[in-house]
């Protein structure tokens, strides 16, 4: 049988890639941010996996921090999005390129 670790790792990588792809392709800012959260979820899975494999707690703690930080980022991010929406009437990323070149 294939060992669990590589399965979990595979899942985490898949999640990560899905997230990255979504972050690049989707246009709605909130969705993009959710995709980034998916990436973080993938990372967390990887951490937990390795933490179990290495019989050490560090990974688990790391996951806790990742969650907390993700929450904080979510707060800030949503605040920014709301601000965008009120100023701009839309949160479509394509509409934001005042600054270029």
């Amino acid at each position: 049988m294939i060992d669990n670790q590589s399965v979990y790792l595979a899942i985490s990588i898949i999640l990560f890639v899905i997230g990255a792809a979504g972050a690049i392709c989707r246009r709605n800012a909130i969705v993009v941010f959710m995709c980034i959260e998916i990436m973080l979820a993938g990372v967390s899975i990887a951490f937990v996996t390795f933490s179990r494999a290495n019989q050490s707690l560090d990974g688990i703690f790391m996951v806790l921090f990742v969650m907390a930080v993700a929450a904080a980022e979510a707060a800030v991010g949503l605040a920014i999005f709301v601000l965008m929406y009120r100023k701009h009437g839309s949160i479509d990323l394509d509409k934001f390129n005042l600054m270029k070149w």
Binding site: S12, N54, G59, G77
Partner: protein, 487 residues
Amino acid sequence: MLEFVVPALNLKAILPQLILALTALTVLLVDVFAGKDGKTSLGGLSLIGVVAALVTLFLSRGDFESAYAGMLAVDGFGFFITLIICLVALLSILVAISYEKVCPEIRSGEFYSLLLFAAFGMSFMGSASNLIMIFVALETMSISIYVLAGFKRDNLKSIESALKYFLLGAFASGFLLFGFALIYGAAGTLDIVKLGSFFTAHPDLLHQPLVMGGVALMTVGFGFKIAMFPFHMWTPDVYEGAPSVVTGFMATGVKAAAFAALVRVFFVAFAALQTDWTTIMWIAALLTMTVGNLIAISQTNIKRMLAYSSIAHAGYLLIGFVVGSEIARSAILFYLLGYAFANIGAFAVISAMGSKGEEYNELSDFQGVGFKYPMLGLTMSIFLFSMAGIPPAAGFMGKFFIFSEAIKAGYVWLAIFGVINSVISLYYYLGVIVRMYFKDPEREISIAAPAGTLVAALSLAAFGVLQMGIFPSYVWDLARASAKMLM
């Protein structure tokens, strides 16, 4: 599995950072409890905090230890980075107080406390010796700065820059984290020192995919923060949109902190892999400085121009990183400090270039400034000279140390490219000076007379630049001593 040692509660080791954090909290409370009149005192309060942090930093200097079960490395390297960060914060706050006239939004507890929290995170990035710690510090810094970047709530550019920085920052830290995860998987620890000893102990495990992937992804994460090609794209937009004072703060502080973390992780944890990363970093350094300088030439907005130039500076710093000798590391520290002085100074001048509500950031707005506002013109010229690497300014000595070390270590071509690049950079740096002194203004701009704090900031920065340029030995010795003490 669950045994672990209870670390000592060593507050002394983190005293400066602690003071920063406490000041930040105090500022928050003062903001909400004191009324209108309280708002005016916020800047002064945070100023006091930073100064106190600086003092304690020097008082608690010298003891070289690993605190909190290896979470923190209280070493010379961290000391120097914290020094840079505190100076940066000091100058930024000074500028901010006078910037309140141009952009009233920042007269609020959030601004100053966020700035202090960011500084707090930065200084921890300098001395964090555990990947968890680095991650937390990095996010503390970044999240604060996401908000700061978008602080002009009514300004579309500002919001846009916040948005871009936020999304890309989160994106990049995802990569960074994944890198951490892979390394953790390979070595089973997140402690940088343990990682170093592990990799030196098991050279056979060095080239397994986990490690390699980890190193690659971490390079991405850090590369993003230091604006390394091709992860630099966010820089110009964010720098242009953010309020000038914030731009100065992030252009110097973030770069310093990120470089500190980069150096610590790569030279302590991955010392065994140096041969592997050198080549790719060589190319990265070359591309980074070239792209930065090249695009900077054709800019018309000075903030954007300086953003590209800061990319180029990251390139010069990467030369030092590639060389990697101890002296090169001290050169990086020296360069970071000099760059911090010059860059914050430049952005201070830019932030002064505005009256209530509007700012004059177009290059054409600088025409005739030299004679109309001699103080701004003179200091700006000093800072630009320094960034261009013209003696007798800090930038010159910094470049000199880095390039000469590169040549000593046999990276002659890199040094040559570096010199060529600084020649290119002359073009746009001197362009500004030419505009300031030899061209007549296109449109009539009226700016408030520089406030006392701004004058203080400008003179402090100018003093730093010239002092490091004319009597480099003090700072250089300090940097040498600091780079020696890298756990």
